[in-house]
């Protein structure tokens, strides 16, 4: 209750307003800082003192600097960000994948297929022509190369993802380390009684970046340290301790993400990662792309199977003097049907094929060979080499493939194969390979196009240059539905629906992303509203504090004058 009390009170006011201005200037300078949450000085009246009159106040104190950080909205945003980034990855990759199918321009598989069938029809109109045969081989190569390229491009995307995941995991581990360090600093700082607002903002920013990589759960303990859980509840950061992630591959070449704990204990959390870029990459690499690859391979397989089956029934312009199959058998003593031949399960045991042997004067010897149940490659070779069975033709093995060779002056050709053995061993076929990755043209045909089987052998063993029946039958394959995966469709329809599916996936991913993005924008706006700095508001506050400061200074001046007056009393 003295003048000096007034000074004391005025001093508290000066200090408090000064502090408030400091906080305001901090806000103003950080108006554009990402992740910065507005700080507000909290002033409280100093506890009153009991005097005879009652209670007398003691001025003002800035008790704390409060941050506008809202942990609930931030947690929501982080969760949504994980989902969004996962969708972004999916959108980007489906967009890239639909581009490699290129079907909207005239260089897509659909058009190349059309050209291929067209080449067969031109051959059917002139089976004796060499230019038609050359054109067919060329179109065939274009077809096989396109299949190969699309498949390789898809695989390239997967490898691309491997690199990105590797880099991302390094980033994740580093972020975890930084967050742990901040945890320690925040704890130290907070021990002094004041919350470390700016450090918390920094840590929050790191957590936000982390949530872009992987979906996570986190909570703050009483000491203010953050615990971050990832992949089904494994702690990535726990106070000052941080663990890491690592990547690996499993037996089937799929990507595996491991959580590495203390003492190097590892846990496979691949299936628990649902969001973030990692989640997106895992889905694209090991679910989405393999799905498309399966479809592409099934289409290639069906094309090989049906065309080869039909082609092996026919004969080219000349009979063979020697031919080697394209599919190798691992164990020539085991039954052909049970082995791993790509089309081995098409072999119909009990059925037969015919091999005609021609001598130099045009006489034909007909040999029907039945594929008995359990026939192995050796069985077949031995049978053919048995005297009086298939004379003047010798069978042998070359690297597990069947080779047939005619004696000098003799030649041979095939017909009526209901057993599918020729197609299974790759004899007199058009394509080689088993799926989109290794589809190719049989060198027997590409190296010597006269071997393209446009004709068929008659019941007397003869065949003619103008015969186009086999070529016409192959052309018919274009419109014939066959079993591809679990559908019954033509090649063209299957391809269309695959491309359609990719288009739908790409569009859905894009729309999902846009929708989510708008949603997050809304949330971010709300957060900005809660946490953000408004320059106009800060300006107004400055004026407020400035006036209060001026008033407090005036108080001091007044108290000074009062004291002087007192002291001037004699």
């Amino acid at each position: 209750m003295s003048v000096s009390n007034v000074l004391e009170i005025a001093k508290t006011a000066l200090i408090a307003q000064q502090k408030a201005v400091e906080v305001t200037s901090h806000n103003i300078s950080n108006v554009n800082t990402p992740g910065y949450s507005r700080q507000t000085p909290v002033t409280e009246a100093v506890a009153p003192v009991e005097v005879s009159l009652g209670q007398l106040g003691g001025g003002v104190n800035v008790t704390e600097v409060k941050t506008a950080y809202d942990k609930f909205i931030n947690m929501r945003i982080h969760k949504e960000l994980s989902t969004l980034l996962g969708l972004e990855v999916k959108r980007d990759y489906t967009g890239a994948i639909e581009a490699i199918f290129n079907e909207t321009r005239d260089a897509g598989l659909n058009d190349i297929f059309s050209q291929f069938w067209g080449a067969w029809e031109d051959l059917a109109n002139n089976p004796g022509g060499t230019s038609e045969r050359a054109a067919l081989v060329q179109r065939g190569n274009l077809l096989t190369e396109t299949f190969n390229t699309i498949y390789q491009d898809l695989e390239q995307f997967r490898q691309d993802i491997d690199i990105r995941v590797d880099a991302a995991i390094k980033d994740v581990n580093e972020l975890a380390g930084q967050i742990a360090q901040l945890n320690v600093k925040i704890l130290e700082f907070g021990a002094g009684g004041n919350p470390a607002n700016d450090l918390t903002d920094q840590r929050n920013l790191l957590v936000e970046e982390l949530s872009r990589f992987v979906d996570l759960n986190y909570f703050e303990d009483e000491s203010g340290m953050l615990t971050i859980l990832v992949g089904g509840g494994n702690p990535l950061v726990e106070g000052k301790i941080y663990n890491g992630l690592e990547m690996n591959f499993d037996g089937s070449g799929n990507l595996v993400i491991n959580w590495v704990g203390s003492e190097s204990s590892k846990l496979d959390i691949t299936n628990y990662i649902q969001g973030g870029k990692l989640g997106g990459w895992l889905t694209v690499r090991d679910e989405l792309i393999p799905g498309y690859e399966t479809d592409l391979n099934a289409l290639a397989e069906a094309v090989i199977k049906e065309v080869n089956r039909q082609h092996s029934q026919g004969v080219g312009l000349e009979a063979f003097s020697s031919v080697t199959g394209t599919y190798a058998v691992e164990d020539p003593t085991k039954a052909l049907k049970t082995l791993d031949l790509p089309f081995g399960n098409e072999i119909a045991e009990g059925q037969s094929f015919t091999i005609w042997v021609y001598d130099g004067s045009g006489n034909a010897a007909q040999n029907d060979i039945t594929i008995d149940s359990g026939s192995s490659l050796n069985n077949l070779i031995d049978y053919i080499n048995t005297p009086s069975k298939v004379d003047n033709v010798t069978a042998s093995k070359v690297d597990g493939k069947l080779k047939l060779e005619a004696d000098s002056g003799y030649s041979f050709a095939f017909s009526n194969d209901s057993s599918n053995i020729l197609m299974a061993l790759g004899i007199n076929t058009f394509f080689t390979g088993k799926d989109a990755s290794d589809l190719g043209i049989n060198p027997t045909v590409s190296g010597y196009p006269l071997n393209i089987a446009a004709a068929r052998i008659g019941s007397d063993g003869g065949f003619a240059e103008g015969d186009n029946r086999n070529a016409l039958d192959i052309v018919d394959l274009r419109d014939t539905a066959c079993t591809i995966l679990d559908t019954n469709s033509t090649f063209g329809d299957f391809l269309s629906s695959l491309v359609g599916e990719i288009g739908i996936d790409a569009r859905a991913a894009s729309r999902n992303y846009t929708f989510r993005e708008a949603f997050i924008k809304d949330l971010e706006e709300t957060r900005e509203g809660l946490q953000g700095v408004s320059l106009d508001e800060e300006m107004t506050n400055l004026i407020r504090y400035q006036h209060a400061y001026q008033a407090a200074a005036k108080l001091i001046q007044l108290a000074d004058e009062m004291l002087e007056t007192l002291l001037a009393v004699q």
Binding site: V31, N32, G95, E98, A99, F101, E103, T104, N110, D111, F113, S114, Q115, W117, G118, E121, D122, A124, N125, N126, G128, A455, G458, G462, A464, E465, G466, N468, R469, L472, V475, D476, R478, D479, G492, D493, L495, S496, V499, G500, G503, I504, A506, R507, S510, K521, E524, E525, T526, E528, G529, L530, G532, V533, S534, L535, D536, E537, M539, I543
Partner: protein, 298 residues
């Protein structure tokens, strides 16, 4: 709700970006002329478009096949008509020479002419189209009719298959007739070449009953050729009809494909103008809003 300074700018950037992207998409459809620049633009439309493109390429191919077939048939028709002319001449000669008023010498001259007719018929029967023998069945690289050394018989070296072309999905048409269908089976009495040979010999030997026999046989030969020409005529008509149907189908498919694939330029440009206006409005609004600042007034 509080509006922070950053929020205003962020929102402007986001919205301008969105508008710019929309404009880019419309622009793309105009500059490429195509609605479908990638499968995701209209997946179901693309599936339809692929089917139509396939159909169109098939139609082009069938037209090529039909053109080839028509050419083959036309050659065959001309050839057979030529044959009919000379067979008719042979018939005239036979009629004449079976008349008792003619002398042996005249008959001998007639024999020479019939021999010439025989060789001419053989030449015609070995006609080629684009380097292939038309009447040899599948053995298009083999001369179908060969006269043996002593010129007493003509052998047929072709086979008995009809060349086919594909004229539609699951539809083929035979365009080739093999030799025996036009000129008769070798062992029959109606075998064109044997008939001419026997006629020539009969004329040579002044054998009038023989000449009269062959007159009847010539009738058979001529009839067979007429039937063959009729057959060809019918096939050419069918091919013509198919060709017209394919033309119509082609127009329809091309139109439908264009509907699916091509940009409606008028609509697209209108769209673009609308979006441009919206973008401009957004820019103006942004400029105005960002200028407002309390600091200017204090």
């Amino acid at each position: 709700m509080r509006i922070s300074t950053k929020m205003v700018c962020d929102k402007i950037v986001y919205d301008l970006n969105r508008l710019a992207e929309d404009m880019k998409k419309v622009n793309e459809t105009i500059s490429s002329g195509e609605r479908l620049n990638r499968p995701s633009d209209d997946p179901l439309g693309l599936v339809g478009a692929l089917g139509l493109k396939s159909t169109l390429s098939e139609i082009h191919q069938y037209r090529r096949n039909i053109d080839f077939g028509s050419g083959w048939l036309a050659t065959a028709e001309t050839t057979i008509q030529g044959s009919m002319d000379i067979v008719m001449r042979a018939k005239e000669l036979a009629v004449q020479m079976s008349n008792a008023t003619y002398t042996q010498d005249q008959r001998k001259s007639a024999a020479t002419e019939v021999d010439a007719i025989l060789k001419e018929l053989m030449r015609i029967a070995n006609t080629q189209y684009q380097g292939r023998y038309v009447f040899a069945g599948y053995k298009t690289d083999t001369v179908p009719y060969v006269l043996d050394e002593d010129e007493t018989a003509a052998s047929y070296c072709g086979d008995s298959n009809n060349l086919e072309i594909k004229t539609g999905k699951n539809s083929r048409m035979a365009i080739g007739q093999y030799g025996s269908q036009v000129f008769g089976e070798e062992k029959d009495t109606g075998y064109a070449f044997s008939v001419l040979i026997r006629l020539r010999d009969a004329l040579e030997k002044n054998d009038v009953p023989g000449i009269q026999d062959e007159l009847t046989n010539l009738g058979t030969v001529y009839q067979r050729m007429t039937a063959a020409t009729g057959e060809i005529g019918a096939r050419m008509n069918t091919l013509e009809i198919k060709k017209n149907i394919l033309s119509d189908l082609e127009s329809i498919s091309t139109e439908r494909l264009s509907d699916l694939e091509d940009t409606d330029i008028v609509k697209a440009i209108t769209d673009l103008t609308t979006k441009q206006t919206a973008y401009q409005a957004a820019l103006v609004a942004a400029a105005k809003v960002t200028q407002l600042n309390l600091a200017d007034y204090i």
